[in-house]
């Protein structure tokens, strides 16, 4: 029952929270750039507008793939909020991302193709760290079950600071922020136009936006898990982490894929690996 409640809450409230968070993000970003910025609800306006636009497609496959992308992202979040296996969350997330990549591939257009390649590279960069996070939770909390991880008395951050750092590092990739917004970015001043979303227009693009909200909330939930024993602090810290991501976004240029891949793997190996080692010894 509790699990159902969690799933229900996630499906309903995650896009709302994610949308407002994105709106705030845009205001804060604008202020950091000396601009005034859009209204808070701008993200919702954007998505609603996209639903009113013509559904312009190259072929009818990518709409389907994007729909799957959204579904699996929701499934991934639902597993998390139902308190199930952490690894399963990551795997479902991978499936979701894979559908996004396939959607971009299926359009068979140069820019979205390169975007898809880069998205694959980003997944390559991110996935080890996410799995290591799961294993870290297992070693620190004794279970892969999120329900169990949440119920551990002390904040897990003290046991796994290295993994936390690694996760925050790759979080930048996942929530598509500079310096790692390789495959697509919100403001498309990029060498590959809009990357893998180049060919998505109108309602299909709206799906991507909504999925992005879900993804943001999901990623911040990962952060939250480190502070799960103090929910209020956890939420505040998750928001703080998001704020830090915004700052990083605004103080870094976009780097190249080589750097993204190498640095995130090194961080994963170094911080994640060493942290795992210590956890293993302590156990």
């Amino acid at each position: 029952m509790k699990a159902l409640l969690g799933i229900f809450g996630f499906v309903i409230f995650a896009p709302l929270a994610g949308g407002i968070l994105c709106g705030l993000d845009r205001i804060v970003t604008a202020r950091m750039q000396g601009r005034y910025g859009p209204p808070v609800l701008q993200s919702f306006y954007d998505v609603l507008k996209l639903f009113q636009k013509q559904n312009l497609v190259v072929n009818r496959f990518h709409g389907y793939f994007l729909f799957c992308f959204l579904i699996f992202l929701i499934i991934s979040g639902s597993i998390l909020y139902a308190g199930d296996d952490f690894l399963m969350v990551v795997f479902a997330l991978t499936v979701a991302d894979m559908f996004l990549v396939m959607a971009a591939y299926s359009t068979n257009s140069p820019y979205s193709f390169i975007g898809a390649q880069r998205e694959l590279l980003q997944m390559l960069a991110v996935e080890p760290m996410l799995l290591i996070t799961g294993i870290g939770f297992y070693l620190a909390a004794g279970s892969f079950d999120i329900g169990h991880i949440v119920s551990v008395g002390k904040p897990l951050i003290f046991k796994m600071p290295g993994i936390f750092f690694g996760l925050v590092y790759v979080l930048t990739i996942k929530i598509r922020k500079s310096p790692f917004d390789l495959s697509t970015s919100h403001h498309a001043h990029q060498e590959i136009v809009k990357g893998l979303t180049t060919e998505f227009a109108g309602p299909t693009l709206a799906l991507v936006e909504i999925a992005h909200w879900y993804e943001t909330i999901l990623m911040l939930s990962f952060v939250f898990l480190f502070f799960a024993s103090q929910p209020v602090v956890g939420i505040l810290l998750a928001i703080l982490i998001y704020f830090i991501e915004i700052i990083i976004d605004n103080t870094n240029a976009r780097v190249k894929w080589q750097f993204t891949l190498k640095s995130s793997w090194i961080v994963t190996l170094l911080f994640g690996g060493i942290n795992l080692f210590i956890l293993y010894i302590l156990k």
């Binding site: 498309a188 060498e191 136009v193 605004n250 870094n252 240029a253 976009r254 190249k256």
Partner: protein, 359 residues
Amino acid sequence: MASRTIIPFGPQHPVLPEPIHLDLVIEDEKVIEAVPSFGFVHRGLELLVGKKDFHQMVYIAERICGICSMIHGMGICYGIEHIMKIDVPERAKYLRVIWSEMSRIHSHLLWLGLAADAAGYESLFMHCWRIREKLLEIIEATTGGRVIFGVCKVGGTRRDIANSDIHGILITLKDIEKDYQNISKVFRDDYTINHRFSNVGFLSKKDAFELGAVGPTLRASGVSVDMRKTGYSAYRHLEFEALTENSEDCYGRCMVRVREIFQSFNLIYQAAEKLPNGPVDIKVTGNPEGEYFTRLEQPRGEVVYYIKGNGTQNLERFRARTPTFANIGPLVRMLSGCDLADVPVIVLSIDPCISCAER
């Protein structure tokens, strides 16, 4: 087992404010071959000499390019004055220097912003342009236009800066310079900027010279060529050095521009200090007859105008060889072997002004 990707890059492309097209052949994001294409902005305005008289040609020359408009206008005036042996009043010369240095600052700030944007550094882009806007206000207050200056005319300048205003302008400029100081440090030291600019678009000193690169592109490869050193207008009375960098890459080109902005501020201060009193223009009678190659230093580099008059109201030939045009050869050379992500950075590193290049 890499496989090739052949894609078009532009003409409509978000990182390129102006249309330029490249056929890119890439392999794992490594550019194997890049063939540029032109003509999206080609208007053919050099032929307008047949329709417009030489006074009107000044307006047209200013609209070769909106960013370099001041020096385009100045170049054609300078050439015609030379042919007609007009001696421009000293004050006009100093005013021209002040405005052309302002135009250099605004152009370089614009470039810095665009380069940051091409590297995906949106906030830096915004801050560069925020500072630039302040300067544009001064430009507008003194010339009447934000981007098209429209102050040069044959025989002097069209407007004067009142001596009483100069003090206020200098104070504002110093404010701007202070503000800019922070930004320049970001360009100099920021890690990701270094990552994106260093060792990208390598152009050796020898190549740069032989391929006929001009302006910051040439100077970043360690060749000290700055047409202002020929001493046109009031430059002969001012102290400055041609700035060079030895890193021979995009970072060097960026640093040359970063430092030139300070130099330009300095030149404006010097010129304002030395600004003589007197008229700003003299009356021009008669028509030009003869030919002259004018060479000036634009923000983007050396510009060459060939002006040929035949004694009528209309010039016989007006040709502008703009810096971007000269930098296309080096650009093609730089592009081979770079990463796809570097393409916009490299293209921007020559500060392309396509409407200049194609006229």
